[in-house]
Symmetry: D2
């Protein structure tokens, strides 16, 4: 059994608590820390069978019974808490992104060296049953060498302009998952990025200095071409698809729905919309990623998504930002100097 | 080139004229006969490049240039015109059913013997691209030995009560196509029929002595079990599907639509309804069945659907009627004595 | 919190233990009883966080802390243990079927009268997300009055001949779920049954006195016609579909798969097979049915599937057996006299 | 009736002859001209009911009975024959592209001015039932304002290196159809193009100076973003799909197949591959585009695709070439100066 501490009890912290209690057999959560811990949250935590709550996450870091921490706090604290946890000798599962600042991520990378601690970044979509099937089709050779990779990722509803301002921008906040997916499906890093983007959904997002709709094309290091299309608002729900076309064939996955019921009437043939948002779509994946982290600790193997996997999508996002700003293709090595 | 005469210029006659002129390269229609031939119909016929129209179908039978006739007249004339055409030495394509009276069909069978004339019955659905694919999957052995056969056949709109009265009843008028399909897909004859049926769509159909909704189950001679479900009214259009389940697998076909467009909105994900009715769904099949008939004449081979294939579904329909009346399973050999 | 005792730790008992521990928040299992309890099973039970194991199920019945029991023992013990549990004042969740003997089920019905105890029968498929969607489409009026109900239910692999002998026969062992589904989707009881069946899969099943392939048609009390098709062996996996056709439209559901990946190659376009068997397909439904049972206890409401719902499908199965034996349609009231 | 002359009896010329004879009621082909007319082709033409064949296309231009010509000759002759046909007072249907040289297309545009002659360019895909459905969903407002347009276009087999050399390059030879589709679906022109491309399929194509795989992204004048993905070789057949995402929803279309048969076996669930290539997929569209051209002549209305519609995709193709060469986004107005 691996004993966990959860740092951050906001939305994603609660997702992980639910995921772990219902889906991870060989882990137990001992303590949940959140600077804004209140009675309601504490009650919710205890109803999930967890004993300790605290406002001070260093309590977790100081607890010798706790083997590993999940960093679910706000993005701007991820790298600092990672460093503190490394010093405290805890294995770390950190929500994405580690940081928006490449230098800070590299500090974490350096601090980890030689410690033998496990580090995993929370790119949960790699654990989705559909995307796993795409990856398996690629790895098994069924579709040959990947040549074209297409990723569609559209949110059901735009975030608030207030959130947009602190989000790091769509490329680092939302597309970052798709950058990771591109690496996952291509099996290699990106070489160059070109981004078209626009503010079509909500003028307030534009006023907050961000875009909400984009087509990002990339050249991958293995020669494959890749395109991501994003939008912050899809009226029909969370649209998360991928396709890999290769020398021998193609694999593609569609969205999931609550049921596959087909209703045919005089108006047409109707199916349900996709599952509403990431909680609905990826609940199993959230459980599976932590299960993989816990297994890596128990078996002393590599985590499936190391700290370098946390760096790479940030580089891609920064390249996309630069491409948009400078209206030209940008090589990843222009960012990662 | 085979020279054809068309007897009957009602709906199905026009379907065949259109099918032949656009899809049958090696046939030419010389004459179209219809007792109710009027100026409008004559004009339509001539606009299709056909020279002669007449009210008297015996003109066609007497014309030595005409090799073959298509009998598209009302059902009650099919067997008599078949006999006359045999006497006149014409090859015959006869719309289904040859007759509702088994004795009259057998007269046609006997008259044909030794003449060397081709006879084909108009079970057009065997030539539909989807049902052909089902049959091919069975014949190729891909699904093993057929064990369960399921046929769905639902019309978009009920016929008028006036039509119902002269139709011979739903089993002989509508289900007869499905009885043929059962034989086609099973590759053998039926042994026994049990019919549940009800008058659920239009009380006037019940008053006309018929039913409009049915589930007909059957035991086929090769041991496969078969079920047909029928309704005279499907709000979403013409529903024509089939499935064969066998020892090694299953093959199933769905309906066709005008396009496969998927429209996803806040209301759900919507597809088009099936093609509206038999003219839309089976136009290609109508062309292909006559092409097969013409080829059989030119190459002196058997037609794909002989006169016996016209008899068998009538026997099944009569057995279904008897089953419904007597509320018990009825063997085909109780009808065909 | 509701405290549960599990009687029977075979396959279905384990399914419920897994379902409850991962999916039912407001219940805790105190004790698991099984006459064949061994070290391995005891270890498995304890790894699921359950404290007590015993060979004697009466320990559970005598334990005043236990509110309710799940009867997961062999079918022939269901009614006797139900009676004992009623006497002990326990709420009861009983796996299907309660008994093959109508008189014994009626004994349970009578014993329950006036006790205020909750009784639920384990027809788990009503809690499957797809079948729930079908039922919702019917109840909401979207498809109008039900007229034709079609249920496909095929197992991936036939049971052993040894099991067949004690199973009560396919109609009471396997089709019983479909009889319940027919009642669920029609929203009423059956009036009459006609069964075609055959031994096509494994001669040993025939030698054991049973059939393995069937088409069972029925007339429901609301006038709808219904057909169930069954087979004990589907090479492509567990095939569980349903369709309801009504005056305004149709609703249909397909199988689920591990992923919806589509792989297109020179060989064709390929999807995954359906989920292998009931454990894979219905794991969520098993959790949901017990959650509903626990909720009914906590809120003192009716269970969604009462003891009468356990009787009705048995009557339908016995009618199907009689229909097959006597080769005629059999009314339910011939059985339930 | 409109009388047509066909100039060019190669593959596409034959496609149009077949399309017109089977699908265009109000047109008759009088003469077919081809400099390489041989006995075999002449026989094929005559078997289609056409009287005259010639090696000299000016015979058609001089024939006062011929109202309109279809230019199906090699690309390098399109603009010159267009000019000659305009001088001869013939309406013109010209296969795409009119020319690779913008100046020559503009010559045709100028020559047409004031003549009242109809001119249509052969972008047949606009007449495909699926793409029409996408366009209709956009025009009807069902999906709101278009924001993201995605076009997939992959050929089953690469052309010969010899063909590649004279083709004008993939962007002008193959992608040109997709550039037209982008304009059709967006309802406006492109503003800027950025192209990623590679030679992944056949080294000989690279040696011939061309690429075979590409992702082309564009900004459209209405603000929508668009991406086209191309490959010269898709192992599973001709892959032609499109999707438009808008403020209220999304519309997408898939490929067509010979049948929709689904075959489920122990190996998985299999469907047919897409229709093999453009002849199979677009035969109806070829008939419909000429029918539209003939209707425009008969009713003296605009053709659905005028000469300007022939120019625009060429500009886009040239911009894509320049983008690839100069490794930067290229505005259309850099080309069309």
């Amino acid at each position: 059994m691996v004993t966990l501490g959860i740092i951050g009890a906001g939305r994603i912290g609660k997702v992980h608590i639910t995921g772990i209690t219902s889906r991870v057999k060989n882990a137990v959560i001992k303590t949940v820390a959140d600077p804004f811990m209140n009675e309601e949250t504490a009650a919710w935590v205890k109803a999930n069978g967890i004993k300790n709550v605290t406002k001070d996450h260093t309590e977790i870091l100081r607890d010798p019974q706790i083997d590993a921490v999940l960093i679910c706090s706000s993005t701007d604290t991820h790298s600092a808490i990672s460093l503190a946890a490394i010093r405290a000798g805890k294995h770390i599962f950190c929500e994405k992104p580690i940081d928006h600042d490449v230098a800070k991520i590299k500090e974490v990378i350096n601090a980890l060296k030689g410690t033998g601690l496990k580090y995993q970044v929370g790119f949960n979509r790699r654990f989705d049953h559909n995307f796993e099937a795409v990856r398996n089709a690629v790895v098994s050779g069924q579709i040959g060498e990947p040549e074209i990779i297409k990723i569609t990722s559209r949110d059901p509803e735009p975030p608030s302009p207030a959130y947009v301002k602190v989000s790091g921008g769509m490329f680092l906040d939302m597309t970052i998952h798709d950058f990771d997916m591109a690496r996952f499906l291509a099996g290699c890093d990106a070489e160059e990025v070109y981004a078209y983007a626009a503010n079509l959904v909500d003028p307030a997002i534009g006023e907050a200095g961000d875009i909400d709709t984009a087509i990002i094309s990339m050249k991958m290091k293995n020669g494959a071409l890749c395109v991501i299309d994003n939008c912050r608002r899809a009226s029909y729900g969370y649209d998360q698809r991928a396709e890999v076309f290769g020398s021998k064939g193609m694999v593609a996955v569609e969205n999931d729905s609550t049921s596959n019921a087909k209703i045919a009437t005089a108006d047409g043939v109707k199916y349900e919309k996709p599952l509403f948002f990431f909680l609905e779509r990826y609940m199993d994946a959230y459980g599976k990623e932590v299960a993989a982290f816990v297994d890596a600790i128990e078996k002393n193997t590599d985590t499936p998504l190391g700290v370098e996997d946390g760096l790479k999508p940030v580089l891609m996002g920064l390249a996309a930002q630069k491409s948009l700003r400078e209206h030209r293709p940008v090589r990843i090595d222009e960012i990662d100097v």
